[in-house]
Structures are given as C-alpha cells and as structure tokens.
C-alpha cells in the first residue's frame, strides 16, 4: 500500500445536501492513493489540536486540477462546522489516505453493503470497485430521517437492489438496520457483507453475517485525535488471528476490520463524538 501524504488541499466546491456538507478538495497525490474505506485527517481552525477524520465519498476528476477528493461533513461541532463553512478556494491541511481499506473478494460473489448516516460514504466507491470485479452489489442504506440519508439517488445507479430504512419512516421503510438486515442479507444471498455506521449498527450487521455464514468487514469509527496512529486515542478491542484478545488503534489497524474480530460489547459507550 502506498504511504499517506501530509499536504495542503484546496476546496474546489462545497455543497449542502440535506444534513451534510459535501466538499470537493484537491490535494495532489492523496486521491491517487485512495482506496474505499480509507479516510483523511483534516486540521481545523486555530487553537484546536485534534484533527477531524472524514470519510472519502469518492474521487472525481475536476478540470484543470486532476482527481479531487469528495468528502462528507456533518456539521455537529465547532470543528466540523468550521470545515462546512470553508469557502471555495480555502486551503485545508490534511493527511491521508489513512487506515486500512475494505478488502475486495477474489471471486465475483454477491455482496451486501450496509451504511448508516454520513458513514455510508465509503460504500459508494466500494460499490464501483465491486461491480468492476463482477460482484453483485446490494445496498442497505439507513438514517434517522431523510435529511441524514446519504446519496440515495446515486445508490440506485451503483447497486442492483437498494433498501432504504429511516427511523422516522420519512423515506423507505420505517425501522433500523438491525430490524431488516437479516431479511435483506437472505434475499441477496450475499457471501460478503460490508458495513459502515455507528457501533450498534455494525454490531448488528456483524452478528447477522456470522449467523448466515457470510464474511463481514466493518468500518469502525472511533473518537480519534490524530488519525495517524500516534496518540492512542482510538482504542479498538479485537480478537487477533491468533485468538488473543488485544486492543488495537482504530485509525491504523482499522478502520476496516473483520466484523467477527471486534469485541463489540466492549465498544458500547465509546461512541464517536466530535471534541467539544
């Protein structure tokens, strides 16, 4: 895997879609190294030392600039609000792409991609890579409400079947991932399941996949400070290949880990939250 870069990017476009701000940022070399599931760590205003980790929603060629990163920001705290307010032309310092990407199956198998909220972002470029390999792509998208549902229209283009659930029923079925994932998995006859979202959702997907005998890979988002593996602020309890329980760094040994390797119960209560 190519090494990440620490560089200065430039905001080429910024667009509000529902609850999220979609930023297009050109950062030479970073987009070229991107693989679905990796992320960037971005510096924010002034006296704030912690970096904000953003999922990469895709890479798109922008005339005169080459490939640019498409990033999704949910402005919920001071740092993410600052990022969402960056005007076109603003410079942002970033490091990436960071972390381990989703592993792609060697055979053209049926897959299910489960995403909730902004965290669904890396599943879209993943869907493209899977289709290139002849894999059948089924998508289950979830959100609290329509405003927090990421790119549902785009999803129809990249997947064979799309299921949408929202907690308030404003679009798609009313319910949660946990309510529907077993049925969707069975219907898709998926052998590999990819998931990105809050910990309880990932836990539910990993459990259902294991029961169904499917492989699962989960992109685990933990509160992190540096994103580069230095601060030990994002502990992820796992069971190693050797069967030994240990704590790894979500940013470096993750964010994508096998769903059956995570000690989910110990992650409860450690939800990602932007530093106040």
């Amino acid at each position: 895997m190519k090494a990440p870069l620490h560089t200065t990017g430039e905001v080429l476009a910024s667009k509000r879609v529902g609850a999220y701000q979609h930023l297009t940022v050109v950062a030479p070399g970073v987009a070229e190294r991107f693989r679905p599931g990796t992320f960037v760590a971005v510096s924010v205003d002034g006296t704030r030392l912690a970096r904000r980790a953003l999922w990469i929603h895709g890479v798109r060629a922008v005339g005169g600039h080459g490939p640019a990163l498409q990033l999704v920001v949910e402005p919920v705290g001071p740092g993410t609000r600052w990022l969402a307010e960056r005007p076109v032309g603003a410079r942002v310092e970033l490091t990436g792409p960071l972390g381990r990407a989703f592993a792609l199956p060697k055979q053209p198998v049926a897959t299910l991609l489960v995403g909730e909220g902004y965290a669904a972002a890396p599943l879209f470029p993943l869907a493209e890579r899977l289709r290139e390999r002849g894999c059948q792509v089924n998508l289950l998208l979830a959100a609290p409400d329509e405003r927090h549902l990421l790119s549902a229209l785009e999803a129809r283009r990249s997947a064979r079947a799309v299921t949408v659930v929202t907690a308030d029923g404003s679009v798609g079925r009313r319910g949660s991932v946990a309510d529907v994932v077993a049925g969707v998995l069975a219907q898709a006859a998926a052998e590999v399941v990819y998931a990105a979202g809050p910990v309880p959702t990932l836990h539910a997907v990993a459990a259902v996949a294991e029961q169904a005998g499917a492989w699962s890979q989960t992109a685990v988002e933990q509160p992190l400070t540096c994103g580069t593996g230095l601060c030990h602020g994002c502990p992820l309890p796992v069971v190693g290949e050797d069967g030994v329980a240990r704590v790894v760094r979500a940013c470096t040994e993750g964010p994508v880990v096998r769903g059956d390797r995570v000690r989910w119960a110990e992650l409860a209560g450690a939800q990602p939250e932007e530093p106040a």
């Binding site: 006296t47 970096r51 310092e93 509160p223 400070t225 580069t228 602020g233 240990r246 106040a276």
Partner: protein
C-alpha cells in the same frame, strides 16, 4: 549526553512506533527519536474516551498502551535502529525494581543510545504505575536505572512544576542522570474527572519557565526542553533559554511533519 546532529527530538509517547511518522517522511533530519514509555509487560491501555480537546491543548489519559519489553526488543527497536535513528528509550514501571529490570535489558540491546526515565506521568497512580511525587522517590528510581544502564546516558524527565523543578533536577542529577528533560504534561483531569495530563501549546510558557529555573539553579546540567513546542520560534525560545535540545510531542498529533520541519529550519542556520 548523546551527540545530536540536530537539537530536535521526537518526544516520548507522541511518535508511535516510528513507522507512522516514517511513512510520511516525518523523521527526516531529526536529532533523535524517543520511544513511548516502555514497561516490562504489555499494556492494553485505559478505557475510552482517552483524549479530550481543550483550547490550545489536549487532555489525555491513555494508560500508556505498549507492547512490553520483549516485543519491543524483538520488533520495534530493531526497525528503529535500521532506520539509522538515534533511539532514546523512555521507560516507566510499577516499581523501582521494574524500572531497573527494564533498564538492565535495554542496556544489553544493540542500538539504544540513551534511556529516558519518565518521572512525569501525570496519571501514574490511576494506571498502576509508580507515582513519583517526592524527590527521594525520583532519586531512587534514577539511581536504580543508572546502576543497570552501564555506559548508557540516562535522561530524567521531571515534572514541569515551577516551584519544585530545580529541586527535582538536582536530586536526579545527584542520583546519576546525565541530563534533565523538563516539561511534558501538566497534571489535569478529563471532563469526567479522571486523572489525566494536559499537553500542547497551552503548557509551553510553564515549560519555558521551568527550563529557566533549572538553568539558573544548575548551570552545569544539560537541560532538554519539552512542552507545547510547535514552531521553529518556539524551539528557538527554549534553545535561547539554555536548553541543549528540544522535544516535539503533541504538535505531531496535529501535524506529523512538525519535528522534521523545525529540524530543517534549525539546520538552515540562525535567522
């Protein structure tokens, strides 16, 4: 003290295993690399959340996760040495005996240039480590490490407590430390009240004052400055105050290239 080609050193606990920074080219030109504080046995670290952001600072209580001595010697140290880095191994422990055992083993390991005894862990007791509060505790630990370290220089990292730092520096050098590292985290609390350390630019003025106090009281003792350094101007302030070297720590979490940039600036000569 070890001979440093550049006065900029990566501080303990902020440079990961070294590989993370090397991948970004961020160890180029640095004077030395200090490892995270090593313990005899592996440590998983403390519960989440471990780190909170505060203006110009980070409050942290990681519980010092680490591989333990055996895995460090087998995997991490050889890699650091292969990179041609001057390796300073930071160490801590639950007892004087544990410090001594770690020092004894490290003294036999090829490639270690110096040991740094971490006497400034701000949340030691909460994580089952020896809480070095009184100068005589510090002296005991340093004397035990120096005895086992054979010819290796031993640096003692003392708390940046303005009122007591000169006394701390005196007892650790009397106990055999070759140099004193002044600075590091201030004792603090996480928002939920758990003991923690505060690092970053917020603590820089305190660390700078502490360097001045030690220099004034002990003009012959080499002092390494550490605490909130994130720019070349910051580093020069510590060097101008009489520090022989500076350590860059928390700034690496915000910009991993900080130490390499400051090292390059300083190598470029005075401005």
């Amino acid at each position: 003290m070890i001979d440093l080609p550049n006065p900029v050193v990566v501080a303990a606990g902020c440079g990961g295993t070294g590989r993370e920074l090397a991948a970004l080219g961020a160890l180029e030109g640095i004077g030395a690399f200090t490892t995270r504080s090593l313990t005899l046995n592996p440590r998983a670290g403390g519960p989440s959340p471990r780190i909170a952001e505060t203006p110009s600072g980070l409050v942290h209580s990681t519980g010092l996760p680490g591989p333990g001595l055996e895995i460090f010697l087998a995997t991490e140290l050889p890699w650091l040495v292969q990179q041609g880095l001057r390796v300073v191994v930071s160490l801590t422990g639950a007892s004087v005996a544990e410090h001594a055992e770690v020092a004894r083993r490290l003294a036999q390991a090829p490639g270690v240039r110096a040991l740094e005894v971490d006497l400034a862990v701000p949340d030691a007791r909460a994580h089952g480590l020896l809480d070095v509060r009184e100068p005589f505790h510090a002296a005991n630990v340093v004397a035990a490490v120096v005895r086992e370290a054979q010819d290796l220089p031993v640096l003692a990292k003392v708390r940046a407590d303005v009122l007591r730092v000169a006394e701390s520096a005196r007892v650790v050098t009397d106990a055999g430390a070759s140099a004193v590292v002044v600075g590091g985290p201030q004792a603090a609390a996480l928002p939920d009240g758990r003991p923690a350390g505060l690092s970053g630019p917020a603590v820089l003025p305190l660390a700078l004052r502490c360097v001045g106090e030690v220099r004034a009281a002990l003009p012959d003792v080499p002092v390494v400055g550490c605490g909130g350094i994130s720019t070349t101007v910051d580093a020069r302030a510590f060097l101008d105050a009489g520090a022989v070297a500076v350590q860059v720590g928390t700034a690496l979490l915000h910009d991993p290239t900080t130490a390499a940039r400051i090292a390059a600036d300083l190598a470029g000569g005075p401005s």
